[in-house]
């Protein structure tokens, strides 16, 4: 697709009604027109890419700096790599990422166990705080669960 060159300044009235006060972005944005000089800014040296970075396909190269926390790995990593073949506009970018996040939770547990650490999920959920400040919730949950279990149990027993 070749871009047609239009001599826009020759269009009758071009720019006549431009009003610099019509600037709804003020004062959040200090409009300087820099956007029209967009690719010419002075860039700092690039951070070396030392880990796998999944890059949005809506940009030509990685940003100058980036985080290096938890590079993609395992099954969730494969899904994340797939997600990044689609733009941020697509559901097929975001949904696979959410799916990968859920799978990643299981990978996390496996990883913990492999390192000889059985995760204490109660502790990780801050159970102690619920016990201290909302014991009622725990008591009612325990009550509801026992009622459900007992009912199921007696129903099953009757059937026999």
């Amino acid at each position: 697709m070749k871009k047609e060159v239009i001599d826009y300044k020759a269009i009758p009235g071009w720019g006549m009604d431009a009003d610099p006060d019509n600037e709804p972005t003020y004062p959040i944005k200090n409009y300087t027109g820099d956007d029209h000089n967009r690719i010419n800014y002075e860039r700092s040296p690039q951070q070396p890419v030392t880990v796998e970075i999944l890059q949005s396909n809506e940009r030509p190269k990685p940003s100058v700096v980036f985080g290096t926390s938890v590079p993609p790995s395992g099954l969730s990593g494969i899904i994340r790599r797939y997600a990044f073949t689609h733009s941020e506009d697509r559901y097929r970018h975001w949904l696979p990422l959410i799916l990968a996040d859920r799978i990643n939770v299981f990978e996390g547990i496996i990883d913990d166990v492999r390192k000889g650490h059985i995760p204490n999920i109660f502790a990780e959920k801050g159970f102690k705080a619920t016990w201290k400040y909302n014991r009622q919730k725990i008591v009612s949950q325990v009550l509801v669960t026992s009622v459900v279990v007992l009912t199921l149990f007696s129903v099953l027993k009757k059937k026999k």
Partner: protein, 380 residues
């Protein structure tokens, strides 16, 4: 801190962060907060939140090490670090949009880099830790003035600028009626900051009574519990002469309650990027030609909001991530002159080691929690 999955976090020893770019600094954290935004991560609502990452975008700390190109900071400085990572050179930064930097996040173009805020926001480890890597150390970090309480300083990294910008984007005029949805730290700060612009009424809506009570005392505003109003929009119309508020501000974001359909599609089925209830109410209760300001955070794909009414009513919507660096000089002055008291929001001080309990307390709104500060044991 270490994220293990929705509602599961713990502390764990990690390798020391390293200088990875000549403009980096390594900061030893002195204070760090848990933010309403962290709850979106904690609840598993933000795509590409990887197990093993460290959250935390509100922190202060002592500079421990600097990269060879850093000029404005020196080892030993006590700094507050804005939550947005900004280069200071791209066209967006140059125009004051430090929350929209184009050189801090390769993983997405819509959002700039944010400390400890998933890979969608750049994959940085955050400040809920003992040490943290701070890129562009000459741009964001600001030395804490010697007479400033570090508790005030840590709230200047996000809560104060966000609350202030929420009000600022509302374009509030003298005599206006301003309605703020959400009485979390951000909504309360927005209500307090709204007064700087001269309204005659500031109304805060939430459904948690202790938070409304806190907001009323802290921000001297009117408060209403939407659970006790049958129809919050109708109520707001009535109380504004059947006209609508001049300005409505969304300080809730994607985990809103109050509308079954929004809650189901947005928070349970994930058919939209969170529940748009507060935004829907904001649009429908602002006057024609009014302004809706949004700082509540929503997920990336899309939300169900009454956009037709935006057109028919001629509403101006203004929204952004707060540009912390742009606002700091003005806000430091408001704090130093005693007009603003950020640390008054802090209700809980918890050692970093008790991170799991700290998250649970803030997330489940236990013990009348408004704002939690975490203190690493190696504190200054």
């Amino acid at each position: 801190m270490n994220y293990r999955g929705p509602y599961r976090v713990r502390t764990e020893q990690r390798p020391m962060p390293e200088i990875l770019h000549p403009e980096d600094a390594i900061v030893r954290v002195t204070r760090t907060c848990i933010c309403g935004s962290d709850l979106h991560l904690y609840h598993g609502m933000v795509p590409d939140t990887r197990v093993g990452s460290t959250f935390g975008h509100e922190f202060t700390g002592i500079v421990e090490e600097i990269g060879p190109m850093v000029q404005n900071l020196k080892v030993g400085d006590h700094v507050l670090v804005p939550f947005n990572i900004a280069c200071g050179k791209c066209n967006f930064c140059k125009q004051g949009l430090y929350g929209n930097c184009h050189e801090s996040n390769p993983m997405a173009t819509a959002v700039g880099g944010i400390f400890g805020y998933s890979h969608t926001a750049g994959g940085y480890d955050g400040g809920q830790a003992e040490y943290v890597r701070v890129p562009y150390a000459d741009v964001g970090p600001t030395v804490i003035p010697p007479d400033m309480d570090p508790d005030d300083a840590v709230l200047l990294t996000d809560v104060v600028p966000t609350g202030y910008q929420a009000a600022e984007m509302g374009g509030i005029k003298e005599g206006d009626t301003v309605v703020i949805f959400g009485a979390g730290p951000i909504g309360i700060m927005a209500a307090r900051c709204a007064w700087f612009f001269g309204p005659s009424r500031v109304i805060v809506i939430d459904h948690v009574d202790y938070r409304l009570e806190f907001a009323k005392n802290y921000a001297k505003c009117e408060v209403y519990n939407f659970k006790s109003l049958e129809d919050p929009v109708l109520f707001l119309k009535k109380t504004t002469d059947w006209y609508g508020a001049d300005v409505c501000i969304d300080c809730v974001g994607c985990e809103a309650e109050g509308n079954g359909l929004q809650t189901f599609t947005g928070r349970k089925a994930l058919l939209q990027a969170g529940a748009g209830t507060a935004l829907q109410w904001a649009i429908n209760s602002v006057k024609k030609g009014g302004i809706v300001s949004i700082v509540g955070v929503y997920g990336p794909p899309f939300n169900l909001i009454p956009i037709g009414n935006v057109v028919n009513k001629g509403i101006t919507i203004r929204a952004n991530q707060a540009s912390v660096k742009r606002l700091l000089p003005k806000l430091i002055d408001h704090v130093q002159s005693g007009r603003l008291n950020p640390k008054g929001l802090i209700t809980h001080r918890i050692p970093l080691e008790e991170i799991s309990e700290a998250y649970n307390i803030f997330s489940s709104k236990l013990d009348n929690c408004i704002k939690t500060v975490l203190i690493p044991s190696a504190k200054a």
